[in-house]
Symmetry: C2
Subunit: 409 residues, 2 copies
DNA sequence: CCACTTCTTTCAAGGCGTGAACTAAGTACA
DNA sequence: TGTACTTAGTTCACGCCTTGAAAGAAGTGG
């Protein structure tokens, strides 16, 4: 039960409040006229709705702009300090917690180094809870002013309806993360795949912004993707993640840490890069720095180190094939490459990568594709996670009590 | 402009009409009470809405059923003869036109053998138009009673906003099919990818019915797929097609007719099957029957012909890998295999196919997957195509004039 | 024949968006 | 300085919508 309940005349008002709020959130401060045009409602209704929102304190007047020989537009905006949201990035080597206001400005940050694959889920939950407490204390924001906590995790997230996480690569098998968190905090929760959330962040605020159909690829230790179809810059278009890193690009090829063979991740993931480099150099690596540092340093010397250049070329070849596949399947107008490793590859070999993708894609869908490097940096996943409670809040028309449960935006 | 315009109180009524109609269409005749429960509206409103629809003639009373010691439910249904729809399947070896009533019963059928790859698009348009005219004449249905024509084609369909078809494999390069058809008929049109429409048909009426997340694979001359996510049996859940057949499963592998290398279609498509068989037999084939007949006969003798069995085993291996990829990406609860070739493979080697898929998929998403053979037969694509105008009609709340333009359901 | 159950209809009440008229607040120009 | 014009926002009567409660309809069981 529970389709979109716009069947009642009450829900209609909520819908129009939501439309106004989404407009202000995504396009920034603006005139009532713009809101009316975007939502397709009459000026009278906009006045009425915006009046409501201002009375509630969610929206505030913020100046005015002249408008070519007529009454100037008075500009309204969402009060950035009306409420706050938390975003958590559960990464393979650290847990990052960030606090944002409604303008998505960072109000607090706390990073806990960790090694996900060696930790019990309960320990991770404690780290998250501790991080949340630390950030709130440090920023002086009251719990009551927090709309909710978004959490990005690796692996597959199943909503049934509480989020259960399957991340074979870090040894998480059906971890009921949302239930565990519920026991330790009263804040509304929203859990989803990290790659999907990175995509959401890039789509709302980064390199994927404004494109109708976009594919965002996250390349780091693992490999993930998220897809947005036929939703301009507009509200919650539709995304779809999945374990794309574990699709076969070479049937019966290299063994992958997931147990199967020929997965894309087994060719382009950070682990694969390091391992391949060791093979080319004829021996295991020296120091015991963490993987991210090793791979970053390795890629920094492609000019002088032939083995490094070879490894990078192979990554480009396979990643290009993978991107070509995505283009064939989704025919996006833009592909954005993010993640700490992806951004490095993009910086070094964007042209070659586009060429490799072109060889593997059909002419037609590939013709209009732009291949871009992600805009957002290391905290893109946390930002994306924070968009989850924000999205619920806006879609509910700005009612804080409506922000419960765990269905995705 | 033009988001979902439920902003007005008028649109609200249309929405509720649409809800009632979808309920009756997908779940069959039923009581007003069921409609109310499904749509989440009060009994009074249901009476009101259904009364409207009956006055219009779209809905009619059809008996009643007892209900445990109370007033019996009176049953209402959509009048199957209120209007009709046409579905066209533009296949690689024939153009099939079918006429359906609103209960999706076939009222007329016309098949034109053809060879798509050797025909100019304008000739195909003529065949479609001729087929439509023939079916209407033969069944005695007036043009005014036809809601529209759905057309399924191979390749990528771009809506911009009129449908343009890119089917590299049959030599269609940016064919403005919808515009061409518009010049030759006044009927409302809807063009989309054939594999997507086959999926739609299986999802509404066939083996994919009732599943929340389903992947439907079409294997014939080419290879396509369609995906339905998080929409139970309910309305227009969301599908997504694309040239899945031309994703690389072996980077730099077999050359494919699309020009790239290692495409899945180059291993499991009908052409690949025939070619591989010829290689194993050490020479080209004898007769010059069409591909479908040759491959069908070839697969009929896997018991006695080792070369045939080998070919089939290879198809299973690669198709299994492809299906494993789909499972990893979409984590469906069900995978349905259709298309003339797909149904044969499913009938012969379902168990082996599931095994091959399992080897290539992650444990978690694969655990609960059912792999099924498609229910619907040779006219599944035409049926799926016919759902397009039906879907528009229902979503508009049963207003015939609203059935124009070409955006997908 | 009466009590009870279940489904459907009727209707007053309250809420909502529209469209038109109106007010507000500027610019252009004489 | 003032008049005409332009654009933005507000007010309000009107019609439409859904709800919720109450009434009606059509059965069953005793």
């Amino acid at each position: 039960m529970g389709s979109r309940q716009t069947s009642t005349v009450h829900g209609l008002r909520r819908e129009n409040r939501a439309r106004a709020l989404w407009d202000l959130y995504l396009h920034g401060p603006g005139s009532r006229q713009r809101i009316g045009a975007g939502a397709g409602v009459s000026p009278g209704t906009v006045s009425n709705v915006v009046g409501d929102l201002m009375e509630q304190g969610l929206v505030q007047e913020s100046g005015s702009v002249p408008s070519g020989g007529g009454r100037p537009s008075s500009i309204v905006q969402i009060d950035p300090g009306y409420a706050f949201v938390l975003g958590v990035d559960v990464g393979e080597s650290s847990v990052l917690v960030e606090l944002f206001d409604l303008a998505m400005q960072v109000r607090g940050r706390h990073r806990i180094p960790t090694e996900l694959a060696r930790l019990a889920p309960a320990e991770v939950v404690e780290q998250i809870v501790a991080g949340v407490a630390a950030v709130l204390a440090q920023s002086g924001v009251a719990t009551d002013d927090v709309l909710g906590v978004g959490v990005g995790v690796p692996g597959l997230v199943e909503h049934s309806p509480l989020a259960v996480v399957h991340a074979q690569t870090v040894g998480w098998d059906a971890v009921p993360l949302e239930a565990l968190l519920h026991e330790r905090t009263a804040l509304p929760l929203a859990v989803d795949n990290g790659a999907k959330l990175l995509g959401q962040a890039e789509h709302w605020f980064g390199a994927a912004r404004g494109a109708a159909d976009v594919v965002v690829v996250l390349l780091g230790h693992g490999l993930g993707t998220s897809i947005f179809t036929r939703g301009s810059g507009a509200r919650a278009p539709m995304s779809s993640p999945g374990e794309w890193g574990h699709t076969a690009v070479v049937v019966d090829g290299q063994p992958c840490r997931c147990g199967a063979r020929g997965c894309l991740e087994a060719y382009v993931g950070a682990g694969a890069v390091a391992a391949r480099y060791d093979v080319l150099r004829g021996g295991p690596a020296e120091g015991s720095e963490d993987l991210e540092t090793r791979v970053t340093e390795l890629l920094a010397r492609t000019d002088s180190d032939p083995a490094s250049a070879t490894v990078l070329a192979e990554v480009v070849r396979y990643l290009g094939a993978g991107i070509g596949n995505l283009v064939n399947v989704y025919s996006p107008s833009r592909v954005v490459l993010g993640g700490w490793l992806g951004r490095q590859v993009a910086a070094l070999r964007m042209t070659e990568l586009a060429g490799a993708a072109a060889r593997n894609a059909l002419r037609t869908p590939f013709a209009d594709v732009e291949l871009l490097r992600a805009d957002l940096g290391a905290d893109a996943v946390a930002l994306g996670a924070a968009t989850l409670p924000v999205g619920r809040f806006l879609s509910s028309g700005g009612q804080r009590d409506a922000v419960l449960g765990s269905r995705p935006v």
